[in-house]
């Protein structure tokens, strides 16, 4: 097979920051090619250049032998290159159909196309890519994250005539079967796919070759069949990965948080106890009420009825601020960092100390050096390199943004951490730092409730695991008999055997 995309010495600088410093690689027609690398290795920049969002400073790209220099997303699409972005690029208050067809929704030249006809065309696109559970006239803002991600992917699929770029396409997808089926259909037509994911098992399943990036440069392109995971990690980080984390035993500490017959959103009568020294995992398929539970405990959402008892006293937790101040303190790290947590154009240091200053000072001036020092201490606990503290958060990679959010949560001095998918879409290195921080946190008398869309993560981290189904606890699994199969089965409801694959088979 011939080379479809040839990239030579591609470089991109932002001022003094080198985002990409010499990437050379090639993708063959009909191939699924993985890009592997740690946070900040330059994957996102490469994606942006290929899809026309930013222009490179140096280097060349050839697509089918012709220079590929897209000046915009639209131009890249015209050349047959389309992208599904990690931070989804959908307009919340428009319909699925309009989002699929943007920016040219209406086909009429002199008169706007009828809504019914637009919906019909969108329905055809959805049907073509085997999406049966999302209506074309549904509003994007009403859809759960997983469905939005599939719409983002579908839009890219529908435009990909030469190269499809998928940036963390499964970050919110609990199951890959739909995506992999569509990828295979596409590659059969000779379309190439650039696949960026932190999930190595996925990469091995769908990709043939991989290019490893480190510090903005391409290290090597390998046949995945010929290299083991350890070898890949070594290329990614430049040294051997950290040893797997140690086992934690069952905790018998004080009860820090308790819910009694809690009703909130889709949660119906939940009883939950969090003790000092334990990490309680929450496993659930999408839409079982986990968001509601976490938001209620974080003080973002008001409970309908029932009791939340913090530190032995019933606590109303009206706002995140109140939740923080209710001794021994609750810190909540939400699901969508882009929307819910981060101030893009403030520095990492300011973002980290923000919650602390917000809760303690009233109208006092902020001492910049004090801010840096305090932020640095917290950053150290999540292994955030101090050189990032002065950066605007918007310029950091997703993994480092997540570290900033976690550092901020630690900064509050809270003893109860409520983490919603803390390691979603971050690389192995960051994952290990986050896991180490979590272990360290509970070892010092804290407690953690965390939800994860990855079963392996739950099995690896949880002292015990609570499985939600239909707003209720369908099972509680102790450390001793925790396996992915057991969690998966419980997540499908109390009395149903045998377990079916995680997602619908649409």
């Amino acid at each position: 097979m011939g080379q479809l995309l040839a990239v030579q010495d591609l470089a991109k600088r932002y001022g003094a920051t080198v985002a990409l410093g010499g990437v050379t690689m090639g993708i063959r027609a009909g191939e699924v090619h993985a890009i592997l690398g740690e946070n900040g290795a330059g994957k996102s920049t490469l994606v942006k250049i290929l899809s026309g969002v930013v222009q490179p400073n140096d280097g060349t790209m050839l697509l089918d032998g012709a220079p590929h220099t897209p000046a915009s997303i639209f131009a890249a699409r015209g050349a047959g290159v389309s992208t599904a972005f990690q931070e989804l690029s959908l307009i919340p208050h428009l319909s699925v159909a309009e989002n699929l067809l943007l920016p040219k929704v209406s086909r009429g030249r002199f008169w706007p196309e009828r809504r019914a006809s637009i919906m019909q065309r969108a329905a055809a696109i959805l049907a073509e890519w085997e999406i049966t559970d999302i209506a074309p006239d549904a509003m994007i803002e009403d859809l759960p994250l997983a469905q939005r991600q599939r719409i983002e992917i579908t839009r890219a699929l529908s435009h990909a005539t030469r190269l499809l770029v998928l940036d963390e396409p499964t970050a919110a997808l609990p199951d890959t079967s739909w995506l992999f089926r569509q990828i295979r259909r596409l590659t059969e037509r000779g379309v190439a796919v650039m696949y960026i994911s932190h999930r190595l098992s996925e990469v091995r399943e769908i990709c043939q070759r991989a290019t490893i990036l480190r510090n903005g440069a391409s290290i090597e392109t390998v046949d995945l069949a010929g290299v083991d995971d350890a070898g890949i990690f070594a290329m990614m980080v430049g040294h051997a990965p950290a040893a797997p984390r140690s086992e934690t035993e069952t905790a018998t500490g004080d009860i820090l948080l308790e819910t009694r017959d809690l009703h909130v959103g889709a949660i119906k009568g939940l009883n939950l106890t969090l003790r000092a020294g334990e990490i309680v995992g929450v496993a659930a398929l999408e839409g079982q009420g986990q968001q509601d539970l976490f938001q209620a405990l974080g003080g973002v959402r008001k409970r309908a009825s029932g009791d939340i008892i913090v530190g032995g006293r019933s606590a109303p937790l009206g706002t995140p601020g109140k939740a923080q101040r209710t001794a021994p303190g609750i810190a909540f790290v939400p699901e969508e960092r882009k929307a819910d947590g981060i101030f893009d154009n403030l520095t990492a240091a300011t973002n980290i100390v923000m919650a602390d200053f917000a809760s303690r000072s009233t109208g006092a001036f902020v001492n910049a050096r004090l801010e840096r020092n305090r932020a640095a201490k917290s950053a150290e606990r999540v292994a955030l390199s101090p050189r990032y503290l002065g950066f605007e958060v918007g310029n950091l990679s997703g993994g480092n943004q997540q570290k900033v959010l976690l550092a901020r949560a630690l900064m509050t001095g809270a003893k109860i951490l409520i983490l919603f998918d803390p390691a979603r879409g971050v690389d192995v290195g960051t994952k290990q730092s986050i896991y180490a921080m979590m272990d360290d946190f509970v070892a010092n008398g804290g407690t953690i409730l965390f939800y994860s869309s990855e079963l392996t993560e739950l099995v690896q981290l949880s002292t015990r695991c609570v499985v939600l189904y239909n707003g209720q606890v369908s099972a509680e699994v102790s450390r001793a008999d925790m396996t992915e199969e057991r969690l998966l089965a419980a997540a499908h409801g109390p009395a149903r055997t045998p377990p079916t694959p995680l997602r619908e088979a649409s």
Partner: protein, 334 residues
């Protein structure tokens, strides 16, 4: 998904949400408020239904309605445009100092006015969209410049507006329907079509999320640029109708429009952050604002209080529309 056991409940809830959202997104609320205000007006001022009274009400309201319609284009994409006052003053004095008689002359003047308004809008658009200068600073500057040029053209109120514009354009179609109302209705029709075109949809998309819009392939800069051009065109129309209504030119004619325009847009329910609302809502918002003045006057409220009462009614209306929005988008339960 989770509601599999109670599909009917879920469906009803979804259906209710859809209707609420339609209400929140359309100009429905402000139209209702306008109609209520109209009923009150007729009740306190029975002569309000006379042909003369209706005609003068619409003639008085139309310039503000058009100005608010123009500002809406910019606000919908998340921008801000202060140049409304300067543009109206400038176009107003240009019309008053360019005497052209008859319907032909009126048409030529209309073309001149709109071209001038669009030119000012294009300058705003270039500065804001392409040179990336903050919209408030840029449009404040163009406002001051336009006002200065207006004073250079006409030192004091005066000038001449053709009889055709003064008498015919402010009259009524077959002595029943004021032309001002016809023009306002054309504005509604225009927006109804425009908002369904790609350009209209992109305007709302950019206002909701610039970054996502850009990643969706929308040319954000072009969208911003044209929002200012459309705004300029509508400001010019406002100035044109103002000249016809006042039969004179005034180099500071635009000044009262500055704050009232934004008040009218807010009353109509268009979000100042961008992304939600529409021109129709702003047309009704402006009409409601003008009608409110009439009602308060008819009720004999001292003019010292009208400002206070107007402000309170505005806050109530905006709160009410916010409440409906909240109910419509309260989606986290699903």
């Amino acid at each position: 998904m989770t509601d599999a056991t109670h599909p009917s409940v879920a469906e009803t809830r979804a259906a209710r949400r859809v209707t609420l959202r339609h209400i929140a997104d359309s100009a429905f609320l402000i139209i209702v408020i306008y109609l209520v205000m109209a009923v009150v007006y007729v009740a306190v001022q029975p002569s309000a239904l006379s042909a003369y009274s209706i005609e003068s009400l619409f003639n008085n309201s139309l310039p503000l309605m058009l100005a608010a319609a123009g500002a809406t284009f910019v606000i919908l994409q998340g921008g801000f445009d202060l140049s409304v006052a300067g543009t109206i003053s400038l176009v107003n004095v240009v019309i008053a100092t360019t005497p052209m008689e008859g319907p032909g002359g009126a048409l030529a003047l209309l073309a001149l006015a709109v071209a001038l308004g669009m030119a000012v809008g294009a300058i705003n658009g270039i500065i804001v969209a392409y040179l990336r200068i903050q919209a408030i600073a840029a449009t404040l500057a163009t406002m001051i410049i336009c006002q200065g040029i207006a004073l250079l053209i006409l030192k004091a109120p005066g000038g001449m507006v053709s009889d055709f514009m003064v008498y015919e354009l402010t009259a009524s179609l077959t002595d029943r329907v004021p032309y001002a109302l016809v023009i306002a209705a054309l504005g509604v029709v225009f927006w109804t079509i425009y908002s369904r075109t790609d350009a209209g949809r992109n305007l709302l998309a950019v206002g909701q999320d610039r970054k996502a819009a850009a990643l969706s392939g929308i040319n954000v800069q072009r969208t911003e640029f044209f929002s200012f051009v459309w705004a300029g065109a509508f400001y010019a129309l406002a100035a044109y109708m103002l000249a016809a209504q006042t039969s004179t030119g005034n180099p500071s004619a635009g000044e009262p429009f500055l704050l009232l325009t934004f008040a009218a847009v807010a009353l109509g329910g268009t979000a100042f952050g961008g992304g939600r609302g529409g021109v129709t809502a702003s047309l009704f918002g402006a009409a409601t604002l003008m009608l409110m003045q009439k009602v308060l006057f008819a009720m004999g409220v001292s003019s010292f209080y009208t400002g206070v009462i107007q402000g309170m009614i505005m806050i109530t209306a905006v709160l009410f529309s916010a409440a409906v929005h909240h109910a419509a988008s309260n989606r986290r339960g699903a």
